[in-house]
Amino acid sequence: MEHHSILRVVSKLLIPPIILYALYVQWHGDYGPGGGFQAGVVFAVAFILFALVYGVDEMMRILPPRLLHALAGIGVLIYAGTGVVTMLLGENFLGYNVLAHDPRHGQEWGIIVVEFGVGLTVASVMMSIFIAFACHNPPIKDEGW
């Protein structure tokens, strides 16, 4: 898609705000709508847009599939690990009350950490699935559609 200058310029303008918005949704989920799921998807969409315009090979140079697969697992481990940590601290599995000096702060910390795990898994999974599909076909020619 080298000659699509409008697509390239527009996507260059769009990708940073999309990533910024994903981070906002991720870390502001306590206050506004959203959370790890939505943030992960929006974050993945920024990179998928990049791959659509600049080619999936360019995307794989930034985010190798092996890294994405590892991050997908790490996200689930962060979530489940939070539960194990609360168990070791003497609470129930995923009982966040013991994570800070008082229960309310513990809850906030627990929610932020598990949402981060969710976001990491969702973003990596979406990008890995997209790469798995995109790697199977040669880039579509403009007249292909």
Partner: protein, 189 residues
């Protein structure tokens, strides 16, 4: 007040009309590229309906996942297969019958549910007030949806995250883990 209600009713009727029209168009079209695009439209309309129900978190998810990423992934699937749906080889009588019976059963199931928006519905008498009352005390998180999702129902969300992870494993097992196997010249059948 009644002008507000009239406005809400108009928006709901418009959205539902568009939803039905989109669904019928999806059924009739054989060009799968158009079907995928209309499925995205369908998701976006559903997201708008969730907004009118004040369920912004759900609407956000529907817009991002249903209208956004699903469309991209379905287009990726189309590129791997064909872009035209085959004519069904057998008669449509049996599928129509199954749909009608299942639809009738679902409608029958809604008959004894509380009326839409009823303030006396059980969920508004016990569950919702309890969460609204307890969330600020228990967690101090202003968005109750987030508190329910990540704290009160933390097990469910852990399960959902595991489901997403499992989906990735399944797709990667089926399609290969993102290495270019098919030749770049497109020689794959």
């Amino acid at each position: 007040m009644s002008a507000d209600l009239l406005g809400i009713a108009t928006i709901d009727i418009l959205l539902f009309t568009f939803l039905v029209v989109t669904a019928i168009a999806i059924m009739h079209l054989r060009n799968l590229f158009a079907v995928v695009m209309l499925a995205g439209v369908f998701s976006l309309l559903s997201a708008s309906l969730f907004v009118t129900l004040d369920a912004v978190d759900v609407a956000f998810t529907e817009a991002a996942v249903g209208a956004g990423i699903s469309t991209v992934l379905m287009l990726g699937t189309l590129a791997l297969t064909v872009r035209e749906e085959k004519k069904p080889a057998h008669s449509v009588f049996l599928p129509v019958l199954v749909c009608l019976v299942a639809g009738a059963a679902l409608i029958y199931g809604t008959l004894d549910m509380p009326a839409f928006g009823s303030a006396d519905a059980p969920i508004h008498l016990h569950v919702a007030p309890a969460y609204i009352e307890r969330t600020p005390i228990d967690t101090g998180v202003p968005n109750i949806v987030t508190a329910v999702l990540a704290s009160y129902r933390g097990y469910d969300t852990l399960g959902e995250t595991a489901v997403i992870f499992t989906a990735a494993i399944a797709v990667l097992l089926l399609l290969g883990a993102g290495t270019r196997q098919s030749g770049k010249d497109g020689s794959k059948e």
